[in-house]
């Protein structure tokens, strides 16, 4: 399964929009792009998943360019409770591979 690359950490302030970009140059045709959120001492929680273009749900948006070699998770108006680690991974059939994730720190 292709690997993903994300920034190790990001800082933001409450009320700002946060964009976390993930690089996946070797993405395969059948791979879906998935993002998870993990709080300390908890298991990861699904945020959003997409294949191409733009996907939006009640908590986030996912932007995927035509070549699918990268993706951007967008969190609108973050709050302190959004402080967590965010993982970008590629899903193919029955395997998920998690990278090291991006630690988002939201400041007041």
């Amino acid at each position: 399964l292709a690997k993903t690359t994300q920034p190790i950490s990001m800082d933001s302030y409450e009320g700002q929009e946060v964009n976390i970009t993930c690089s996946h140059n070797n993405i395969a045709t059948n791979d879906y792009i998935t993002w998870y959120q993990q709080f300390p001492s908890q298991g990861p929680r699904f945020i959003i998943q997409g294949y191409k273009t733009k996907v939006t749900n009640e908590v986030a948006s996912l932007f995927i360019p035509a070549d699918r070699k990268s993706s951007t998770l967008s969190l609108p108006r973050v709050s302190l409770s959004d402080t967590a680690v965010y993982y970008c991974l590629l899903y193919n059939f029955n395997k998920f591979y998690f990278g090291s994730g991006t630690k988002l720190n939201v400041k007041p």
């Binding site: 298991g43 699904f46 993982y87 029955n94 998920f96 998690f98 090291s100």
Partner: protein, 114 residues
């Protein structure tokens, strides 16, 4: 629904001891997974199962064994505990019905091997 449950929450083992980490799901999911997460790192897949009686290795299977006799349960066995197995272990499940899958994770088991 309780979702994915794991027991125990925390365990201390001595080197060479064995134990079984329990995982159960009540969502009738076909797929189940075991991950380990070392401090400050991402999750690594140990084993997974696509249905009762079917298991396969993930990225880091050495030192572990699994079985899947029912849809609900997916225990992880450590035969000879080593300090390198000190980690947090997460069990997860997904429907396995399509190409778009969402994994649901349990609360984790913290294991310390001394």
């Amino acid at each position: 629904n309780a979702g994915v449950t794991q027991t125990p929450k925390f365990r201390i083992l001595k080197i060479g001891q064995s134990m079984t980490l329990q995982c159960a799901q009540d969502m009738n999911h076909n797929y189940m997974y075991w991950y380990r997460q070392d401090p400050g790192m991402g999750l690594k897949l140990i084993y997974y199962s696509v249905g009762a009686g079917i298991t396969d290795k993930g990225e880091v299977p050495n030192g572990y064994n699994v079985s899947r006799s029912t849809t609900e349960d997916f225990p992880l066995r450590l035969e000879l505990a080593a300090p390198s197995q000190t980690s947090v272990y997460f069990c997860a499940s997904s429907t396995g019905t399509g190409i778009q899958e969402t994994q649901y994770f349990g609360p984790g088991t913290r294991l310390l091997v001394l």
